[in-house]
Symmetry: C2
Subunit: 200 residues, 2 copies
Amino acid sequence: MSPRGKVLNDTMRSETLQKITGGALSIFAEYGFYGATMKKIAEATGLSYGLIYHYFKSKEEVFIYLVNLALMKTREIFEKSLTQDGDPWEDLNTLSKTLIEESLTGDSVLFFHIMLQALAQGKHLPELKEHIDKNSQLIFEKMIHVVVKGQAVGKVVEGNPIALITSYLSMIQGLALYMFQDGSIPSIITHEYLLNVLRK
Amino acid sequence: MSPRGKVLNDTMRSETLQKITGGALSIFAEYGFYGATMKKIAEATGLSYGLIYHYFKSKEEVFIYLVNLALMKTREIFEKSLTQDGDPWEDLNTLSKTLIEESLTGDSVLFFHIMLQALAQGKHLPELKEHIDKNSQLIFEKMIHVVVKGQAVGKVVEGNPIALITSYLSMIQGLALYMFQDGSIPSIITHEYLLNVLRK
DNA sequence: GTCTATACACTGATAGAC
DNA sequence: GTCTATCAGTGTATAGAC
């Protein structure tokens, strides 16, 4: 999972490693796991081909490393926004605002694209599927509390909470896909449209 | 675009061609354009490797053919559902019901997966992007009329119609992505959750 | 740590037998 | 129409010089 088995998740070992992961992120996001090649990644970083193998032992390991990074960033957003100690609708508002205004803009959207590629093509990377499933479940559990509480106070629309959350998360992934093609879309989409999914 | 340049879109030339497109559909849907190989496709059809090249001149041509098929099926659904001569909300209800209950179930979902793969990785197939953009625009135009009319009669929520439609279409693509992983989700998602995006 | 050169398998596409 | 055999090019990963 982690390169050379010693790198911590919070701080990168060296500047070179940052260059590699940065280049790999953009290439994997654009071409997917199979379409990305080590040659393209090397060219994107400006470094030499063989050097990547000094930091990662395989292409698959680079990809899994980046997906885990994306999973961590995503979970962090959900955990920070859903404080669960005040108005549940306020939590959902903060979450939606953060997702639309921060996660789906600039370079941050690359992490969503990586997730997209992992979901669309990662069926044959078992280790990947495990991590994704585990993290998705944690996010789901976190949201269920807020949604149910929101329904109790009459702010969230009726319906199966699992179905509502699935709808919500689906729209985010779908929006990320749209922004893949056309970068001009985000400007007209505000968090209010995302909240429409849950609003009573 | 069309195999050997003479095949009509409505009727397949032979049973063999159907086998090829069927196998190719499932492989492309699962692996994406780059991850799919002609060998895998041949194995999925049960036919020999070289035979595919008797019907299509390249892997790219097979993919583009299938994406166009998916685009046509998608457009057909939108055009049939949005009659535009009655209650606009009724149109949106019909559309949502068809999408959830027919398009996102069984083998039909493979066409959405193909679209997903094309959107996620088709940036470097220019011919593809053209067709997708053209068809997307037609769908958008068709929907705008209904959404604006729905807002006029107070059934559709306020907001930028383009943003509302983008939200709606994003959720569908996102749901297709979810069903890629977990086939059990569709059972709890009804068209009502999709309509929540537009409901006032 | 960083680079170039290379081994080796796989892929897309073609040729040609039946 | 259908098949097997094959070619040229590309891809991952490694070896080894500096």
